[in-house]
């Protein structure tokens, strides 16, 4: 997964629901189509929430990994 090159990294460590998806949405709004966001969170609920978020918004979750206590998501802006 680390071979993915992120255009922007957003660290949501320490934030609880609903802030990770709100900050993800705001970050994606400022990005161009095709760019990749690396989002880091510590809220375990974000694993399910990011999957639901991409399903609803139509963005693409390229992959996710766990680094110790942190969850890392790579999301491509498709629209």
């Amino acid at each position: 997964m680390s071979d993915l090159k992120a255009d922007l990294t957003l660290d949501n460590s320490g934030l609880s629901c609903p802030m990770p998806i709100i900050k993800t949405k705001k970050a994606m709004d400022g990005m161009k189509v095709g760019e990749i966001l690396k989002m880091v969170a510590t809220d375990p609920g974000s694993v399910s929430d990011i999957q639901a978020w991409v399903k609803k918004t139509g963005q693409e979750l390229l992959g996710q990994e766990t680094e110790g206590e942190k969850f890392v998501f790579y999301i491509r802006k498709v629209k």
Partner: protein, 158 residues
């Protein structure tokens, strides 16, 4: 996105208590983050949440609240000082879990464009004036809420 997927979240808030004020703000801000529109209709005691300077001073009562982690018989829970105690305990759990304060969620909701509608009828019944409420909200009645909720919406009440 499937064609039948709801585009709106329409919430009715009727309780001006700390515990019941959180879900409408968490869900409405999340909805906007998911490309939905969201509105909260504040009616009856829910209007308390929109009063100036009130949102971070809402309370939760331990009376008739058996789900609270603090197990207190109702006859003790009704004593003076128990509601402030339960409130400060809940606020400290929220801080520990890094949940934003209600005023922060309110600011986020307003910034993201969540429609906040104060119930005109409740204002009349309770003698609440528009200037008693925070800026940037709408005042309306049942039809204002229902018109929004009638189009492809998820509807919830707290």
């Amino acid at each position: 996105m499937p064609e039948e997927s709801a585009k709106r979240l329409a919430i009715i808030s009727t309780h001006g208590t700390l515990d019941m004020a959180y879900p409408p703000f968490i869900l409405s801000t999340a909805a906007v983050a998911m490309d939905m529109e969201a509105a909260i209709f504040f009616t009856f005691y829910g209007l308390e949440i929109l009063k100036k300077g009130k949102i971070d001073r809402l309370k939760v009562s331990p009376v008739a609240n058996p789900a609270m982690p603090m197990k207190i018989p109702n006859i003790i829970a009704m004593l003076p000082g128990m509601t402030p105690l339960a409130t400060s305990m809940m606020n400290s759990w929220m801080r520990k879990a890094k949940v934003p304060k209600l005023s922060e969620l309110l600011a986020t909701a307003q910034e993201m464009g969540v429609r906040l509608i104060g119930c005109q009828m409740t204002m009349d019944v309770m003698g609440i004036k528009k200037e008693d409420l925070i800026d940037g909200i709408e005042i309306g009645g049942a039809a204002t809420f229902l018109e929004f909720a009638s189009q492809n919406a998820v509807t919830l009440s707290f």
